[in-house]
């Protein structure tokens, strides 16, 4: 890494899954910090830097968002729609990381301009590999918008 602080916003309502993601990310050290929120509303608050996420030093603008689809309060697709419809936010890479491999969900996600859509693998090894590759691709290989 080039020393630049990189932040991932993880939107995941299942605490176990969030833990798995965060552990893997820490292991591979792809990001300096991971902000974990449990619902769509909190995700939007964090992105807009409002409410309890107002402090940009504590909650910097993320460079990648890992977004689950089924979320309490504001649904994942709605968060995606909001982000991709916002002039300042739409460049943020959004990777849908979900349990659902339903055709309809992926179609809707792409309809709303998701950058990527991946289904959580059941196998632990695959889960680890996926997160490592995702992290490296989007934060190292990919030219970041900011």
């Amino acid at each position: 890494m080039n020393g630049e602080p990189l932040t991932i916003l993880l939107v995941e309502d299942n605490p176990d899954h969030a833990e798995l993601v965060m552990r893997n990310m820490e292991d591979f050290q792809v990001a300096n910090s991971i902000i974990h929120v449990e619902d769509g509303e909190a995700a939007l608050d964090c992105l807009y830097g409002r409410g309890k996420y107002a402090d940009r030093k504590l909650f910097p603008m993320p460079h990648l968002m890992l977004l689950d689809l089924r979320l309490p309060k504001v649904d994942g697709l709605e968060v995606l729609k909001e982000v991709k419809g916002d002039a300042d936010l739409k460049a943020l890479p959004v990777v849908i990381l979900t349990t659902s491999d339903a055709e309809r969900d992926s179609a809707m996600a792409y309809e709303y301009h998701a950058n990527s859509y991946v289904t959580k693998p059941v196998s632990f090894d695959e889960f680890s590999t996926l997160l490592r590759d995702l992290g490296f691709y989007w934060l190292a290989w990919n030219k970041r918008p900011w």
């Binding site: 176990d16 899954h17 632990f124 090894d125 889960f127």
Partner: protein, 501 residues
Amino acid sequence: MNLENLKIFAVKARRAVNMAALPVVAMVVVAVTLNYAISAFFLSDAEEKIKNILLSHRGLHQYIQKVMHPAFYKAREQGEISQDFYAPEIFSSSFVVRVDHGFYNEELKKAGLPEIYYKLASNNPRNPVNKADEFESSLIKMFNENSEISEFKKVVNIDGKKYLYFAIPFLETSNACIRCHGKREDAPQGLQALYPGQGGFNEKAGVYRAIESIRVPVSDEISTAFILTCSLSVGIIAMFMLFFFNRRLKRTVDKKTYSLEAEVVERKKKEDDLEKKNAELERFAYTVSHDLKSPIITIKGFTGALEKDLLKGNYERMAGDLKRVSDAADRMNDLLCDLLEISTVGRVVNTSEAVDMNLLVEDVLAQLEGPLRNSDIKVTVQSDLPPLFCDRQRMCEVVQNLVENAINYMGDQVDPHILFGVREESGVKVYFVQDNGIGIDEKYHENVFGLFNKLDAKSSGTGIGLALVKRIIEVHGGRVWVESDGVGKGSRFCFTVGRNF
């Protein structure tokens, strides 16, 4: 089966006959009357023609006898004409009239009109052309025997043509007539010379010695009238029938249309229901696959992590990870139980009965005493709750889930309070569970009833409670909804069932 068909056919046929009978009978009556009237009109027309001819003949007779004869006798007395002179062309009115009628017929023929038969028919004619035929003879006899009969008429058919035949007795033979029609030797010399034999002689006074026999054609007019009235009646009958049948047809079509429309509406409704059910099923399958897969990912993920930690000899977080695995397995078990539960709701176990809601709520609250006491929640139940027609066991689940939901979403309320009550809304009893907990933003009011939908990821329960409530209430033909003034303002879950007391 056959008999049944026959009966139906008979009923239908009778109905059709009844329906057709009225216009047909009416039209037949009208047609007959019309035909009769028209024939009568043409017959009276023909009769008038006949009378005209006869009267003009009579006029000629009169002229000859009242004007010509006196003038002739005067001239004879004055010696201008010889005593013995006699000429039927001058003397005999019957001769003159016959010849006159001959000329008349010639003129008619020239004018392209049908000739008119005329004869002064006698049984004892002086001139053989006046010989009565058999029929005429019988008429002479009839008139002489029945003095009150003054005329005879009849429509006759000759060579396929219709004629009006008419006969009246000729002048009664008087003494004046006897001069020429009595004994031969008494008649004028000239007459005797002209008419040899006894024809026209030996007549007696006081009888009719002849009839005026006449016949005019009416055939064309009557058949035209007949055809006209017939076609007119047939046309009118056809129109009537058409009108009646059309009305009947329209009624049948209307009825059919109505029933078809109703059928379409019903089918549409069924289709909509089916579509709804399908969508619900799809949502259900989606939710189930998603929610069952989640714990599997957790279990596999953390067993993988455990394995790695074991190899590394990193024991510190193993206990926690094991608990996560175990919890995920429990969660899966819970989900499966809930799924089973919700899938059985469709088939209501117990039949509905009038349930005393006061007792029911009391029972449920007794069961939830523990959690209520732990959260220090005060519960108020409105007194005299009206009874509800429902499946008691299922209604218990509804109330229990709603109260549990209120407990789960009480938040950090310092004075937690739950109220169970009823209110009336346009004649329908609305039961409700009200709390002063965290409340629900209006945009989630629909969502909360979805399967495994939880507004707060950290709240306890699988998220099936409200979905179950919704399912039970729907099976009861009722409705469930949530009212809340927003976040922090508490919420009120309301429900109705199909039949109230």
